[in-house]
Amino acid sequence: MSATAKPLANTRSGTGIPTARLITWWVIASEIVIFGGLLASYVMHRIGHPEWADAASHTNTWAGAFNTFVLLTSSLCAVLAHKAADAHDGPRAAKLLRLTSLGGLIFLCVKGFEWTADIHEGFVLSSGGFWSFYYTLAGLHGLHVLAGMIIMLIVAADAAKNQELQRVECIGLYWHFVDIVWIFLFPLLYIAR
């Protein structure tokens, strides 16, 4: 089957929402319950284990805050890419998407430094309840950042040729969701720990 041939099914819209954006919303809905389940489990444990406060005090608030800033800025780039795509300016959209990806890369690098420091201090995944949750939560989020970056670069490659511009908004939606998850992870793991 030709790589770019789309079935008629893809081009119809009974709901009034294009199929690409519709499937993105459903993906986001499914991710809400995945992260929600993990977050709820953490919150239950954290409230029930006030003695974890000691372990939790070792997270690096400044690294977390900087990373929050990075993600917010990358979200700005993503939505500006959407605006460019709406104006049918594919190359500009691609450039902005690549900037967004760069933001993701910076986020992951900072996380890498942060975790290296934590591990040097002896805090690993199995170091106890708080740390197990910390690494799992941030790790799952980080995986989503990585996946988002990769997909974004693929979308950017097409957008640079003014192709499949509708996908710019969709990957942007996913990215904003990943940003929102971090917006809640930051206070949970770094501030109100």
Binding site: P18, I47, G48, P50, A53, F69, L72, S75, V79, I183
Partner: protein
């Protein structure tokens, strides 16, 4: 029944000043970090989570354009969130507490002691 082509012909959102929204988000970030530095428990919590909720709303409204989307989309997402709250409500009595009517979790109770009294029970 519209087609993809018809929908792509005109954009479905009006684009606000995104840089302005971003600036507000960064300012809120600063507020939440400043709150944490006061070390007053209630201020820290409100600054942290209150700000988080506001930031999430701003991203959803201005970046994701969820308010101009078909109405059922935010409803769907809210229902998913609601299920998580239901999960929490059903599980917390068992996992968040360390003793019940007929059971205790001695390891957890013991571990909680050094923090000064453990969990507040109703």
């Amino acid at each position: 029944m519209t087609t993809e082509a018809q929908m792509q012909a005109q954009p479905h959102v009006h684009h606000p000043n995104y840089v302005k929204v971003w600036a507000i988000l960064v300012a809120l970030l600063v507020v939440s970090v400043a709150g944490s530095l006061t070390h007053i428990r209630d201020v820290v919590l409100v600054a942290a989570f209150g700000v988080a909720v506001v930031k999430a709303y701003l991203v959803a409204k201005n970046f994701m354009h969820i308010t101009v989307e078909k109405r059922w989309v935010p409803y769907l997402l809210i229902i998913c969130l609601l299920f998580i709250f239901i999960l929490f409500a059903g599980v917390a009595p068992d996992v968040m507490h360390h003793s019940g009517l007929h059971w205790t979790n001695p390891s957890a109770n013991q571990a909680a002691q050094p923090a000064g009294g453990g969990v507040k029970r109703e």
